[in-house]
């Protein structure tokens, strides 16, 4: 994914890429979003995310992006293994579970891996 593509696809929706100018402290984290089960697919799979964003922030982002109903829920899993706590930050997950420079997350509308 290049930066250009990112800007284009982010143009008509809320950007997951933080644009805060004073965010100098840490590099952004590359997150790979995979759909699983009966959930619409987000075409753009690779995103860059501010390391201090939380899991629930990503859940809200996906919810909004897919224009889901209020009563629908997004579940997130790390590497198809466990569901991180909603207040866990992306940096912690990446530092412990990132592979090849990416944090791989799976999202679905029903509980998948318990």
């Amino acid at each position: 994914m290049t930066d250009t593509e990112e800007t284009q696809s982010a143009a008509n929706t809320t950007s997951i890429t933080s644009t805060t100018p004073n965010d100098k402290d840490a590099a952004k984290i590359c997150v790979l979003l995979n759909a699983t089960g009966n959930v619409p697919i987000i075409k753009k799979r690779t995103w860059t995310v501010d390391p201090n964003k939380t899991v629930s922030w990503i859940q809200k982002f996906i919810h909004k992006y897919l224009k889901l109903d209020q009563n629908e829920q997004i579940f997130l899993y790390v590497n198809q293994t466990f569901a991180p706590a909603p207040d866990q930050i992306i940096k912690n997950l990446y530092d412990c579970h990132g592979t090849n420079g990416k944090l791989v997350l799976y999202y679905c509308k029903n509980q998948a891996w318990g």
Partner: protein, 269 residues
């Protein structure tokens, strides 16, 4: 495997005296007396407060009685999915003999600052996720995924019913290095800084590059930066000796969620 069973016992039996107070804005009529309770350090607030909730309900305005219960200490909302011992050590670090006074609320759940893991079912699935993550770090997830649903249930029931033998009969398997290894792959650990609930998590190997077992002074060096130095660690209300080995700590001082929850003291350089 965990050999020092007495240590496991002592950690398991750690308790905190809590004095629960009502939120005066929610009370109708006479202000109730506080409710005192000894609770396990290893448990979670929603698991030990059924009686407290019941006691205060009759003093609360009818429209709030069924509300989502939450707690605060001096205005700080208490995270419902953190072990009680972790909350206490972060907010009440100077050990004294007086009970910890916290306020119970039945309304205005602070959804922005507090994750709503307020029922036993939600906590159970959170707890199991923590165990899975810890096992991914220790054994690439191989031990927990080889367990059956009934083993997972036994861990949860052992915790909520405070049955040491029931819990450890299964947890023992999670606390052994995998097959022919001498230690875990990585140590599941969360580092807290005194004034803050957010924790830092990173990969911490129990072994140094030369294959030696690492201890807390090695960990201090690992966490120190050019501007600040890690100078001490605390968990379960205990100041830890710097020669304590990380592998031993993980096996003996982890909370039931299989993570070490360490408060780190830093000194500016």
């Amino acid at each position: 495997m965990a050999h020092d069973r007495e240590v496991l016992r002592m950690i398991w039996e750690g308790q905190i005296g809590i004095c629960f107070q009502a939120d005066s804005d929610e009370i109708v009529g006479i202000k109730p007396e506080p409710f005192y309770l000894m609770v396990s350090r290893l448990s979670y607030l929603p698991l030990v407060t059924d009686k407290v909730r019941k006691y205060f309900t009759r003093y609360i305005a009818a429209e709030h009685q069924e509300g989502a219960v939450w707690f605060d200490f001096n205005g700080t909302p208490l995270r419902l999915h953190y072990p009680i011992g972790v909350l206490y050590d972060l907010l009440h670090p100077d050990e004294d003999s007086t009970p910890w006074c916290i306020t119970i609320h039945f309304s205005k759940f602070p959804e922005e600052s507090l994750v709503k893991l307020n029922t036993k079912e939600l906590l159970e699935s959170h707890f199991l996720s923590c165990l899975k993550e810890a096992d991914v770090l220790k054994h690439r997830g191989l031990v927990i995924s080889a367990m059956q649903k009934k083993d997972h249930n036994q861990l949860w029931l052992g915790l909520i019913n405070e049955k040491f033998d029931q819990f450890w009969a299964v947890n023992r398997r999670l606390m052994e290095p995998y097959s022919d290894q001498e230690s875990f792959k990585n140590i599941p650990v969360r580092f807290y800084n005194d004034d803050d609930f957010t924790y830092m998590q990173k990969l911490i190997s129990p072994l140094s590059e030369s294959g030696q077992k690492k201890n807390l002074s090695d960990l201090m060096a690992e966490l120190s930066t050019p501007v600040r130095k890690a100078v001490g660690f605390r968990t379960h209300g205990i100041d830890l000796h710097e020669e304590t080995q990380l592998q031993w700590m993980s096996e003996h001082l982890s909370y039931p969620d299989n993570f070490l929850h360490l408060s780190v003291d830093y000194k500016s350089i």
